[in-house]
């Protein structure tokens, strides 16, 4: 009996231990290979992202490529941004990765540093290298080598309501002071409507904050040799943060202080018609117009103004690079695909669709709309976030810049406290 009980007891323990093990193993990471078709004939698998290139462009591009390369089929797939880092990780680890991938410019360094991408340094001249957009080129350069080709960029501008500006007698501002004055004037002119917001600015719109910090001559992080350390506790960064608060205070924006521009989508708020301005990307204006078509003739944009009158503030160049995975079986074909895409014909189509083209300095096609003009005016001085593999973790994980903004704007922390806390957290993440 005693022995039997002992055995039973151990069985019970084993059951319990197994339950514990299952419970935790469930949240462990497991990776499964999921590749495309195996290499019969020639199939070039191209992954582009949702909303990056217009369908007319990709259709024409794929057709031309297939026509000029007999026996080659382009397997074109559109991927969603949400969860793309996980999906790419899995795909790159597989035996049969895609042949051309699109990477967010802030993610590129991570994939390059982990040696998952093909070194394209030798092909730069072949791919219109002298026309590359500076900001994007920086984002795909790691240790002096190029691991991709710029695709397109988009930057933030201040989208505004022309009808409301006219009614209040305001001209698009040329400096930061004029901008603040315009916000105040617009607010006074519409004071009768308690729901009106002259500027919609959520508390964690950190890409906008980057502009203000860069305009002050500061940066979020500085390279020290090969390592990066936060630079948020510098006077320039503090001044940038202070200007952000000034915008929030002056406009009296009703936007939540603890979320970014995606919750709720700021274009939805703008489309309701009670907002005078928003700091937005081109697609956000597009979506607002889709929600309320009457906005099409009532909206325009101006570049984010600098504190130096007549200049524009450096903007964050959001955008994408194209890269070839190191494990691709059709690397030469993939290079030819990139070469075709880098040609003026397709770059013009990108510009026409409202994006800053990655491999062409010709922005004539872009500057045909008011928004395009504002984009084209600020793109050349555009900057990117620190080019370090650890930056991707800042955006994919807990972003200290967002915490800093919320803490300062809600008064939870003083300016010095907020910046120094965020700086410590940022340095730690960048340190790996």
């Amino acid at each position: 009996m005693g022995k039997g009980a002992h055995v039973k007891g151990w069985r019970g323990l084993a059951v319990g231990a197994a339950a514990v093990a299952v419970a935790v193993a469930g949240c462990g990471t497991s990776t499964n290979d999921s590749g495309g078709n195996s290499g019969e004939a020639k199939t070039l698998t191209v992954w582009l992202m949702d909303g990056s290139a217009p369908e007319t462009l990709t259709n024409a591009l794929n057709k031309e490529f297939q026509d000029s390369h007999s026996g080659v089929t382009v397997n074109y797939e559109v991927q969603k941004w949400t969860g793309i880092q996980e999906k790419l990780t899995t795909a790159l680890a597989s035996n049969n990765p895609p042949d051309v991938i699109e990477l967010g410019n802030t993610q590129t360094a991570k994939f390059a540093a982990d040696e998952t991408l093909l070194d394209l340094s030798g092909d730069v001249s072949n791919l219109n290298g002298d026309q590359w957009l500076g900001g994007l080129k920086d984002s795909l350069t790691w240790n002096g080598k190029q691991y991709g080709m710029p695709f397109y960029a988009a930057n933030r501008t201040v989208v505004y309501r022309t009808d409301l500006f006219q009614a209040a007698g305001i001209e698009p501002p040329k400096s930061r002071d004029e901008w603040v004055a315009a916000i105040e004037k617009l607010k006074t002119a519409n004071a009768a409507d308690p729901e009106f917001q002259s500027l919609y600015l959520p508390g964690q719109s950190w890409y906008a904050l980057l502009s203000f910090i860069w305009d002050e001559g500061g940066d979020v992080a500085k390279a020290q040799g090969s390592a990066w350390a936060g630079a948020l506790n510098t006077p320039e960064a503090k001044a940038g943060l202070d200007f952000y608060k000034k915008l929030v205070d002056t406009s009296g924006t009703k936007a939540p202080k603890d979320v970014d521009e995606a919750t709720p989508q700021q274009f939805e708020v703008f489309a309701k018609g009670k907002v005078g301005m928003m700091i937005a990307l081109p697609w956000e204006l597009g979506s607002a117009v889709k929600a309320d078509p009457t906005l099409k003739d009532k909206t325009a944009a101006f570049p984010i103004p600098s504190k130096t009158a007549g200049k524009t503030a450096p903007v964050f160049l959001g955008g994408s690079n194209l890269a070839i995975p190191g494990g691709s079986k059709n690397q030469d074909l993939a290079k030819e695909y990139l070469k075709l895409l880098s040609s003026a014909k397709y770059q013009d189509q990108l510009a026409e669709a409202g994006a800053v083209p990655g491999t062409s300095k010709d922005t004539a096609k872009l500057a045909t709309s008011p928004l395009g003009k504002a984009l084209a005016a600020s793109a050349p001085t555009g900057k990117v976030t620190p080019t370090t593999p650890t930056w991707a973790a800042v955006e994919a994980g807990q972003n200290p810049l967002k915490d800093m903004l919320t803490a300062y704007l809600t008064g939870a922390k003083s300016l010095d406290q907020a910046t120094s806390d965020a700086n410590t957290a940022l340095s730690k993440t960048l340190g790996g």
Partner: protein, 327 residues
């Protein structure tokens, strides 16, 4: 409950088994080696399946925790052994201990609150009229059926700083301080809101299970207690509790496993923020594994979590052993 029932059911079969075996006493010895082996042979397929489904992932997790496995090693299929480096990295990080303590406190608080609420609702359900009980059950079923992310979104809006119904209601009630109050400005308050959501989601299952246990208690025991003049509290202590205790124990054990690993809600709310102050171990695991692509380190976090869960549920495991031993 299940534990008690299986053993109850097991007793008669055990009694009948020798009775059936008795008439054929002679051939018993001859076929004994096959007879003795047969149950194990029958169990073998199931055992192999379990070993493959459960044992392999756990083993692979353990092995991974001793490897350096970043994106580079993963894509190139390199195997780099680093011994205990991953463990020294996480255990040497002072934040790790804060996160661990936070996770344990969160788990204990959420489990305690949800089991207690479940128990109270189960006892309440026994007392109310059938109509009220059905309304209560349907309501709980709906809450239970709600998808995690949908429920999280609803809670985010309830507690929203500007548009949240909670702040608006509080202001209407005269608490002007709650106008524009941010419920997510500190880790404690963020975790409190998340904890409330987790409890809300856990209570229906607990209440239903405990109610099922409670209606299984024979009525005459209560009648006897009433005749003896027992107060409601005495009745609960001497009649209800002893019957429900094994069930409560098991549910607590299960809740601990579930609540310790809560990730979706925490990530959906504030990604473990502000300033990482609502980061728990599962969130840390995600940050290391998915955000930073340090899969080896994340595996080490998993192993530590497994050990911790073992320690947390040790009492239950011990009693499980004791209970089975006495039966």
């Amino acid at each position: 409950m299940t534990a008690v029932h299986t053993t109850d059911a097991g007793v008669p079969t055990n009694k009948s088994a020798p009775r059936r075996a008795a008439p054929g006493g002679a051939p018993r010895r001859r076929g004994s080696s096959f007879d003795r082996l047969l149950p194990y042979l029958l169990l073998a397929p199931a055992f192999a399946a379990i070993l493959w489904l459960i044992g392999w992932p756990v083993l692979s997790l353990l092995v991974t925790s001793f490897r350096k496995l970043n994106l580079k090693e993963l894509t190139r299929g390199e195997v780099v052994w680093v011994g205990l480096d991953n463990y020294t990295e996480i255990l040497g990080n002072p934040d790790f201990w804060i996160i661990t303590a936070r996770t344990v406190i969160f788990t204990v608080a959420v489990v305690g609150l949800s089991v207690l609420s479940g128990l109270l609702i189960a006892l309440l359900m026994r007392q109310v009229s059938p109509v009220v009980r059905i309304v209560l059950q349907v309501t709980m079923l709906l809450a239970w059926a709600m998808p995690l992310i949908a429920a999280t979104t609803v809670y985010q809006w309830i507690f929203d700083q500007q548009y949240g119904i909670l702040n608006k209601t509080l202001v209407k009630l005269g608490f002007d301080g709650f106008a524009g109050y941010s419920w997510f400005s500190t880790g404690t308050s963020t975790l409190a809101v998340i904890g409330l959501l987790v409890v809300w989601q856990a209570v229906p299952f607990l209440a239903f299970s405990l109610y099922a246990g409670a209606i299984g208690i024979p009525r005459d025991q209560y009648e006897a207690a009433a005749i003896d003049g027992a107060s409601p509290w005495q009745t609960f202590r001497s009649v209800t509790w002893p019957e429900l205790r094994p069930l409560v124990m098991m549910l607590t054990f299960l809740s601990m496993l579930w609540d310790f690993k809560v990730f979706t809600q925490i990530w959906a709310f504030r990604k473990g923020g502000p300033d990482g102050a609502s980061t728990t171990l599962p969130v840390l695991q995600y940050l290391e594994g998915i955000s930073k692509s340090h899969f080896g380190v994340a595996a080490a976090v998993s192993v530590v979590m497994m050990v911790l869960l073992g320690v947390l549920t040790f009492q239950y495991l011990r009693r499980l052993i004791k209970q089975e031993g006495t039966l």
